[in-house]
Symmetry: C2
Subunit: 415 residues, 2 copies
């Protein structure tokens, strides 16, 4: 519990979200209020890579109005990165370099914003600096549309993506059923191992305009059963069926169905997915002889800031601001966690801390008991969990009928 | 110019839009005010097919609040159809049946809402009834995201789809450029022969967050040139490039590039397109060795009522209401047209009429002079044309954080 004075470094990492910059705004706006303890505020270009390369921006030089607009600006304004630190016992090079840079710029506050892999990076840096006697308060700020970080009720970014998925499915439901001819629509949603975002499709069903079938990565996926499920819906519903599948659906042996389409892997060794809806569409078309339309939500689901949840925007901001407040109070080696509360029957939340070790590299999945309808639906528990956090609209002001996103000057902070 | 008394029949036809129901609301709400002349208001299920099958709804039985919500409900609430009437000289069956049904229900006002093919249907029915001495005032209500109807400044449905395309591209621009590694993003937009909707991508470029390259169906598409264009952008831009292509891009011989992917045809004999972005992605990946992400906006671009243009919602409503007012004043055999006006430097519009013969089966394309940058950009004339009509937000009220769309009772009007 150290009370420190020095510079602050903030980095964004992993896949961006609609509200990741809201957390950046929370960190920056809060930090700039504390010039007595925080002497400089830096934003790293492309996360940990920017620190290694001494490539970061002096946030104190930005227009405060633009920092405010960051709240409503999607994607990672500082640039993101997928860079995995090796184990320190295998290769200490990067760690030494980070320590060197932190010393040179007197960085005493470090905040890293991301998902599982980013919390792993944050955790490794935290442990290394502590072991080497360098005083620096380090707090992870959660972020992931996958919603799979442990220790937090949900992750900033999830609710807005869930609102996109559910709203868009309601609209698609109306569109895909418009003709007097049959159509099977297969929608693919992101989420490698956890089905939280795919499950959000059930919110549309709860409102009466959702898909007929939902397939999560948590439930083993069988292609024959899938075709039979679609056939059964078509038979009772004029050859119309909407199915939603996670990009991460796997067969009973744990092999990604999407690997039948592509076998590329990303830098973390994860299978590079996406496109499984097209493979399934071909199979359904061939076996059932119906018209099929595959729709991949692709990047749209993670950058649709125009459809952000107001609760998510605020919580993302508060998570960033809370990281600064906790660190100023001497906390370190922790991740900010959102704790759900209910006040007078109304949803509310507070920010607490969980240890980085607990948050890093573990994945929170959908409880098995929440999966219903022979693996194709979600229970009321899920609706009660997800519905309160997608409430409210919050988005960038319009200029010429289009969003006015933040424009940062990005003045180099390099000495 | 007949002043008639009798029932009103309204049908929706062709591909739905975000605001097609706003025109339905305009027709219904205006018509229900005139019970002295309009004795019944019917909504045909699946357009002309519902008339042939005596399958239509008694709109007077609907809750007025739900009719109001129709303004903000995407897709065709009555059901749409793609049904092409044969030439009356080839086969009179359908025409005789329509006359029979109109006589049975004393239909004296007929409104048909759709694009080119629907105006053709409307025109054929109008001419047939007139030739057979059946008095009925017939007005077409324009609708198409393709924006290719002649005689009207623009078509209801276009501006909302354009707002979706431009807003989404701004968000994608931020997302697709987030990593410090290369990525070519190829986005596919609807529009078979006219590039109006694809051109809307230029609005995002106008705001500084658009694609680097835009390809319209009006300009012959050469795959080698396309790859060279992408390569040139990548070379000056860290291997990052965003290209937007119309589904309807054609080679110099007029053959759809998308036909290399699929050769299915729809009921009108049009090539069934979609998916050309995937073919182009494979070509770019193979030739340039860069990471490529194809994104198809698919149905999303035509049903995203949550992102509708307020001007479009109002004009779609007014076009429907104007059809009723014109018909009550004795007009027939016409299509409602939006005429652009400027009042004190501010955009405004009025509804006038053009003959159905003029509107049917002709396609309005992007003027050649508006295409710039060696076939990859749009001129200021296009921005000045499109920007005023995407202004303002207008959408369904939220219930549980999700849109509350209209729920019609759909009481059968069959005698």
């Amino acid at each position: 519990m150290k009370n420190l004075k020095g510079a602050l470094m903030f980095g964004q990492s992993g896949g961006p979200t609609s509200v990741i910059n809201s957390s950046a705004a929370g960190v920056f706006i809060e930090a700039l209020k504390h010039s007595d303890k925080i002497t400089k505020v830096y934003g790293a270009a492309h996360g940990i890579k920017g620190i290694l390369d001494e490539n970061f921006y002096d946030i104190g030089k930005e227009d405060p109005k633009e920092l405010e607009l960051l709240k409503y600006t999607p994607s990672s304004s500082l640039g993101s990165v997928r860079y995995k630190l090796k184990k320190v016992t295998d290769d200490e090079t990067d760690y030494k370099r980070i320590l060197e840079v932190f010393k040179k710029y007197d960085v005493r506050y470090f905040f890293y914003n991301g998902g599982n892999d980013s919390m792993d990076t944050c955790n490794k840096v935290s442990k290394y600096l502590a072991q080497n006697g360098y005083e620096c308060n380090i707090i992870g700020v959660p972020k992931t549309i996958d919603n799979d970080l442990c220790g937090t009720d949900h992750c900033p970014g999830y609710a807005s993506a869930a609102k996109y998925v559910s709203t868009t499915l309601m609209e698609l439901n109306l569109d895909a059923k418009v003709y007097n001819t049959g159509l099977v629509t297969i929608v693919e949603v992101m989420g490698r191992n956890a089905g939280w975002l795919t499950a959000a499709a059930a919110l549309a069903s709860y409102k009466g305009l959702g898909p007929d079938l939902i397939y999560l990565p948590e439930t083993p996926f069988d292609i024959d059963k899938f075709v039979a499920d679609v056939k059964a819906v078509c038979e009772k519903n004029n050859d119309k069926c909407i199915a939603v599948v996670s990009e991460g659906i796997k067969n009973k042996d744990g092999k990604y169905i999407g690997e039948f389409v592509s076998s590329a892997t990303d830098l973390f060794g994860h299978a590079q997915l996406g496109g499984v809806c097209f493979a399934l569409a071909n199979i359904v078309k061939a076996r059932l002889g119906v018209k099929v339309r595959p729709i991949e939500f692709s990047l749209l689901q993670r950058c649709a800031a125009h459809l952000a949840s107001a609760i998510d925007v605020e919580e993302a901001f508060e998570a960033g601001a809370a990281a600064v407040k906790f660190a100023l109070a001497g906390e370190t080696d922790q991740m900010v966690a959102i704790i759900r509360e209910e006040k007078n029957g109304k949803y509310s939340s507070v920010m607490k801390l969980v240890s980085l070790s607990e948050a890093a590299n573990t994945e929170k999945k959908i409880p098995a008991g929440w999966v219903t309808n022979n693996g194709t639906g979600l229970s009321k528990e899920f609706i009660d969990y997800a519905l309160p956090i997608i409430q409210g609209d919050s988005k960038a002001p319009l200029e010429d009928g289009l969003p006015r996103f933040a424009k940062l000057k990005k003045v180099s902070g390099k000495k």
